[in-house]
């Protein structure tokens, strides 16, 4: 978001906060250090980094059930100027009646069922510079209208402003050799970031199953990273491209997606799929799997969940897609203790390129307000020429201590 837009939104947020008067203030502030096991691969990268981040949250609700939410976010990073960034995660007003509501402003919406790849989630842009797990999202300006008649829920979205994906800068780790150029973004739409995107979703629950189907029409949240040899020729002159940079190209898409979760006994089944019609080709992508939970292992309170998922798509653009034929294995361990301890481990295996990666996350609470999170990612085997190969020296451990209030 441009500085001016951001400042205006912040001013609206703070004045609405002042007008709304007494509400609830909560949120977190965190310090983080990331240590990398190896020296950087790419020119200009700093080895390690430390940062501080905060995300306060103001919430006010009125007697009639309508509410106001304001969630600004900011991070200061020692190494990467781009990772020093701020965003408005949420700034919206919700008006609610019996079986319908309207939400206006900057909001956050998640669609999906699976754990490893968030395929069908499309409303909010990924704040990739925050974490490579892709779970951090930028606030999305929207008008949402939702109605729940007896036969399910219909959600209609009008998305008037597009948010570009964040990428690491020259000094940052976990990036491609060429830095993504954020000053020369190409849009297929002549309205650029002001293209009016729309989405309609239907969801319902039948017994043990939840499912949703949707159609999205507008700017793809997932940029194609153009190099001089791979550009949309009618939109850019290859001569204008900098050999040293990747140009994000945001195409116009029509996407039909579905997500399903089904619970039966100790089993959970998950599926996400979409068919996308875009600038280069039409293609299909899917991910799905199963999770089984062993409860009370060894007669105690510890639960162990084991899960396996598979992801694939039939797009034939080689290096641009990471999950074109990948298998995932994961384990969750929760002792159900007072400290809310969790241990998560995930392993990804590319079935075509013999690439694999491992991630481990441990988190627990200290006292009433502190939470410590330690996670580590290892890019074990990478194939020459793939996106993952550019991260081959970026094995890292991240320690985060957050104060929640």
């Amino acid at each position: 978001m441009h500085i001016r837009t951001w400042a205006a939104a912040l001013a609206i947020g703070i004045s609405a906060w002042a007008v709304a008067g007494a509400g609830e203030l909560s949120g977190w502030i965190a310090v983080e250090g990331r240590g990398f096991l190896n020296d950087p691969l790419h020119r200009g990268q700093e080895r390690d980094n430390a940062s501080i981040a905060a995300q306060p949250e103001y919430y006010h609700t009125w007697e009639n059930g309508s509410s106001f939410t304001f969630v600004p976010f900011g991070r200061l990073d020692s190494a990467d100027a781009r990772r020093t960034h701020a965003d408005i995660r949420e700034l919206n007003y919700l008006y609610r009646e019996d079986n319908w509501f309207v939400r206006l402003g900057v909001g956050k919406v998640f669609w999906g069922a699976t754990e490893f790849v968030h395929l069908v989630d499309i409303i909010n842009q990924t704040d990739l510079i925050e974490h490579i797990d892709g779970e951090d999202k930028l606030g999305q300006p929207m008008l949402e209208f939702s109605i729940s008649p007896s036969w399910g829920t219909l959600d209609f979205f009008i998305l008037p402003y597009f948010r570009e994906r964040t990428f690491p800068g020259r000094k940052g780790r976990l990036r491609t050799g060429r830095v993504v150029d954020l000053d020369n973004v190409i849009y297929e739409s002549s309205s650029k970031e002001r293209n009016l995107d729309v989405a309609l979703r239907y969801s319902n629950t039948f017994g043990g199953a939840d499912f949703g189907v949707y159609v999205f029409r507008g700017t793809s949240r997932e940029p194609l990273l153009a190099t001089p040899d791979l550009v949309p020729p009618d939109l850019i002159d290859p001569e204008d491209l900098d050999d040293d940079k990747l140009i994000p190209f945001y195409e116009q898409i029509n996407q039909f997606g579905t997500d399903v979760q089904y619970a039966s006994g100790n089993w959970l089944w998950k599926l996400e799929a979409y068919w996308r019609n875009g600038y280069f080709q039409d293609y299909f992508a899917a991910t799905g799997g199963v999770e089984y939970t062993f409860f009370g292992v060894g007669g105690g309170n510890t639960d162990i969940g084991v899960l396996t998922e598979y992801a694939f798509n039939d797009r034939d653009d080689g290096g641009l897609t990471i999950f074109q034929n990948d298998l995932f294995l994961g384990m969750r361990l929760s002792p159900n203790d007072a400290a809310g301890t969790h241990l998560l481990a995930g392993f990804a295996q590319d079935l075509e390129r013999s690439e694999n990666a491992l991630s481990v996350e441990f988190t627990r609470r200290f006292g009433a307000n502190w939470r410590l999170t330690l996670d580590a990612w290892f890019f074990l085997n990478t194939a020459r020429g793939s996106v993952l190969d550019e991260l081959r020296r970026d094995d890292f451990a991240r320690l985060q201590l957050a104060y929640h209030f």
């Binding site: 609830e24 909560s26 977190w28 919430y59 609700t61 509410s67 919700l94 609610r96 019996d98 079986n99 509501f101 956050k108 919406v109 998640f110 999906g112 779970e135 939702s146 729940s148 829920t153 969801s203 629950t205 017994g207 043990g208 939840d210 979760q261 089904y262 619970a263 039966s264 006994g265 100790n266 089993w267 959970l268 939970t293 409860f295 009370g296 007669g299 309170n301 639960d303 159900n336 203790d337 007072a338 400290a339 809310g340 609470r365 009433a368 307000n369 939470r371 957050a402 929640h404 209030f405």
Partner: protein
């Protein structure tokens, strides 16, 4: 002819009743079920309710930690109970919501809303023996007890804490997914309020004892304990629940317990 058939049926019923009469004493199982049924009947009909809950967890060394949550429940005709647990503290789980559709016989449906990701995750709800929020209460201890999920047996009558009580035994029907082999409960004869429950683990050793204190009457007929103490005899840990602000008939409806409404709640 029709009248004749009817009269014959009535006579047969009277005969049946007369035959039952001399038997006098019902079996301990019949008495147990009758007591549980009456307690269940008195419990029901509240429609919907809301309450605030404070949990104090204490470990063996005496260190404590606290949780605060809001609970909303709705009785659904012929289909068990809907409930929402909205967590307010500790701050790192603030806004987390557990939604349960407890069914009379079928497996319960359960969802967890994770506010940081705005994500609704379905969770495997069949297992009931896990700890609730790290406390000494398991999901089956806090969930609404559907009558059909246990079998019952009257053990004896006994005075407990000044109340003339029935002592009954409850045995889970779904043994594989319960943490207990059986429970023994003390209910007073006047209002069928539970005062104490002993929980026996799968090896039939005494595991936990729950005691109820400070009963108050709401809406002129519903008794609710405002304090519950659970002591785990095997680990030395304990949990105290303090209930406040019970409100009945607040106008909650099924749509308030819909999966999609989770993203709107705070």
């Amino acid at each position: 002819m029709r009248y004749g058939t009817c009269a014959w049926a009535v006579a047969l019923m009277a005969l049946g009743a007369a035959r039952l009469l001399p038997a006098a004493e019902p079996s301990p199982e019949e008495r147990g079920l009758a007591i549980a049924t009456e307690a269940d009947r008195r419990e029901r009909g509240y429609g919907d309710s809301t309450a605030n809950l404070r949990m104090v967890l204490r470990n063996k060394q005496g260190q404590t930690s606290e949780r605060e949550l809001r609970i909303r429940t709705l009785e659904v005709e012929n289909d068990g109970t809907r409930s929402l647990c909205i967590f307010d503290t500790p701050p790192d789980v603030k806004g987390t919501i557990l939604l349960t559709h407890a069914h009379k016989e079928a497996d319960d449906d359960q969802w967890l809303f994770l506010p940081a990701l705005r994500r609704i995750r379905r969770i495997a709800a069949q297992n009931k023996s896990g700890s609730f929020m790290g406390s000494e209460f398991s999901y089956e201890d806090i969930a609404t007890q559907e009558l059909g999920k246990h079998t019952y047996r009257w053990l004896r009558d006994e005075v407990y804490d000044g109340n003339d009580c029935y002592v009954i035994e409850r045995t889970p029907v779904d043994k594989a997914n319960s943490g207990y082999s059986r429970q023994v409960a003390w209910l007073d004869k006047e209002h069928y309020r539970t005062w104490k429950v002993d929980y026996y683990d799968r090896k039939n050793d005494l595991l936990k004892t729950l005691t109820f204190k400070d009963y108050r009457k709401y809406a002129e007929r519903f008794w609710r304990a405002t304090r519950m103490d659970m002591v785990n005899h095997q680990t030395g840990k304990s949990t105290i629940l303090t209930w406040s602000d019970f409100t009945f008939g607040t106008g909650l409806r099924e749509i308030d317990f819909d999966r999609n409404s989770l993203t709107l709640l705070r």
